[in-house]
Symmetry: C2
Subunit: 394 residues, 2 copies
């Protein structure tokens, strides 16, 4: 993995004892000059304490540090949880010599258990000391829960001849379903940009990436995407061309991160792009794609490498969208399995079965009702998903 370096940013990740077996569980991102800041948060009605804290702090449009723990979500922890989130930020700000309100917090892990704030307090001096411009990989490891690989993406762009960098780090492999930023993601950039626009760009990029992936239909209480832009590259966003340039790079980073999340989804062995075309509207297409992407029967068939296109039609049929079953075509990559609602026979089935043996492929559903289209990235539903989630807390 390339070492992520973004001008003026440092990161670190250490083990504080929240997780067992000396696993990294505490991470810090710091920018040497204050950054413009924006956030996109879970739409779940049950929100963890750090979500509530950040929603308020981000309104200032500025931040200089983000402290994150894994192994405990600090959610459903009541007033004590709020105090612990504030304390975690306060201790971090103190260690960095910052104003408390410039520090954002995030937590991920089991819900309903009091945050072990004393362990965090004891570890914070070490965490600050470990800050390094090449520390993003340690940070990425520190925010993992059931993830099996660290997720970091760095991309570059250029404005008026000046190069800027966008580095994103994310975690998430379960409780992932599109209904807002469905995981933790932290994005650092050295671009110079207004905070209002940074918020808009972050929202758009999240819509195009994290909100187009599905693992299990569950959304989390702790999801957030935080973006910091410290301006240190000297690349300044001044007009709509510059905006397009930045948005393109930001989209790419978040899309790549969201693909990594699906690939690393709990127990997943397949990464399948569900494309719906020919819908009456893009919204209809999105509903159909989402319903297929979230169907347990479709996902278990992917796991079984069974080209059971009937389940794909059955899922489409319950998406709440008017369809004409005698027009629908279904493709596995370029193999047409179903034409005008009827199966294409054994040869197509054999070819489709070969496609399904691949780790990545595309299922295209053509409704032939209009020009609306949408796509969703999903994974299969494996025995290991059940194993992982039946035993999560033990």
């Amino acid at each position: 993995m390339a070492k992520a370096v973004c001008t003026g940013f440092k990161a670190s990740g250490i083990a504080s004892g929240i997780k067992k077996n000396n696993q990294k569980d505490l991470g810090l991102i710091y920018t040497q000059t204050p950054a413009k800041a924006a956030g996109v948060f879970t739409r779940n009605q049950i929100q963890a304490a750090p979500v509530i804290v950040n929603r308020k702090r981000i309104q200032s449009g500025e931040a200089q540090a983000i402290v994150v723990n894994s192994g405990n979500a600090n959610c459903c922890t009541g007033q004590q949880g709020m105090e612990d989130a504030f304390e975690m930020a306060r201790l971090t700000a103190f260690g960095l010599g910052l104003g408390e309100e410039k520090t954002l917090v995030a937590s991920t892990g089991v819900i309903g258990v009091k945050l072990p704030i004393s362990k965090i307090k004891a570890a914070l001096p070490r965490l600050v000391k470990a800050l390094d411009s090449e520390g993003f990989e340690n940070f990425a490891h520190a925010i993992m829960t059931t993830d099996t690989i660290a997720k970091i993406v760095t991309r570059h762009g250029r404005i008026n001849g000046k190069e800027f960098t966008v580095t994103g780090v994310a975690k998430g492999s379960g409780m992932v379903c599109p209904n807002m930023a469905t995981l933790l993601a932290f994005v650092c950039s050295d671009i110079d940009v207004q905070s209002d626009y940074l918020g808009y760009a972050t929202y758009i990029a999240a819509e195009r990436s994290f909100n187009r992936v599905n693992v299990d239909g569950d959304t989390s209480t702790n999801d957030m995407v935080l973006t910091l832009a410290n301006g240190m590259s000297g690349a300044v966003v001044e007009n709509s061309l510059h905006k397009a340039s930045f948005q393109g790079v930001l989209d790419e980073v978040l899309k790549e991160l969201s693909k990594m999340i699906v690939q690393d989804a709990e127990g997943a062995t397949k990464c399948v792009d569900i494309k719906v075309m020919g819908a009456k509207s893009d919204e209809d297409a999105h509903r159909v794609a989402s319903t297929i992407a979230n169907s347990n029967l479709v996902k278990t068939a992917f796991f079984g490498e069974d080209a059971n296109w009937g389940r794909i039609l059955a899922a489409a049929g319950r998406a709440g969208v008017t369809l004409k079953s005698d027009r629908i075509d279904v493709f596995f990559n370029d193999v047409r399995m179903c034409h005008n609602g009827i199966g294409c026979g054994d040869m197509a089935e054999n070819q489709a079965t070969q496609v399904m043996k691949k780790p990545e492929y595309t299922v295209t559903v053509d409704l032939k009702l209009g020009s609306g289209q949408a796509s969703m990235l999903t994974c299969d539903f494996s025995l290991d998903y059940v194993r992982i989630n039946a035993d999560y807390r033990s």
Copy 2:
């Protein structure tokens, strides 16, 4: 299992060769006098041929026979599928000496494969010959797909001193989610009732039973509940008291059948009643209960016997209903695990873990916002669910 006998009705079930290994796959219900008939059908936009045939035929309000095959859904089979469904009814009517339009058809099994009508044609004389007033158990076996137990319920009521009987037979253990009659169910009664009212009563009973259970969030293309009432008991529904009496018995039969379906759900080891109370409205309560009942993370925790109440709150939080997290209580049977949104500690957790070892228990979520309530019956999500559905067609 008690032999189901309902005056004037006969049933049969045989092996016609659609399924492998000489398993029963063709069933018939017949009433010696024409019956009032009503039906409730899938809301899935993709509908199997027999659903389309029955929707039309049921409008007459009368029927005398229902022929059902398992092993093939006759869905996504185009014009040929429609012709096969008509042919299946026609052949049955011919064998029974009935008008073709008095015969209803149903199919269940794999989608997208042409119905082997010649096998059905060859078997029909045997099927008719096998009709017997005690033949419901054979019929129940003939309509099973991944079901492991036959599902028959008989209950009795009394109107003006005259006893009437309601016998229901159902199949279903996957693709079960409330969004209409979520399976095949056939209900016979010897009560004397108008067909309009029979339709209403069937709809209400389905809402109270099949639409309150959840296995995997998928709904089928072939779902239907058909009710026949031949009037031969002499018990006549003439006023609202009689209606209440009949509705009570019908509800009981369908509720018992829907419970049997959850207990026999694919791979299920637990049957859990999700009760939501204190919602602003019954509708809100229903949305919360449904979302919890359909959460893969909640269902895998049930399988793992892990009292992970945080996942229950997280599911409630994405139901699209306004909640106050600091008011919510969660109970496992009578053990309170979460009070005002905060966990109740290790002793409660130990007690709740004991509750979760039982095959059946209740999870109660009190939102403390109003007086709305609802409940949903759900099952756990096990390794065997994935195994069964990954290999369904092989």
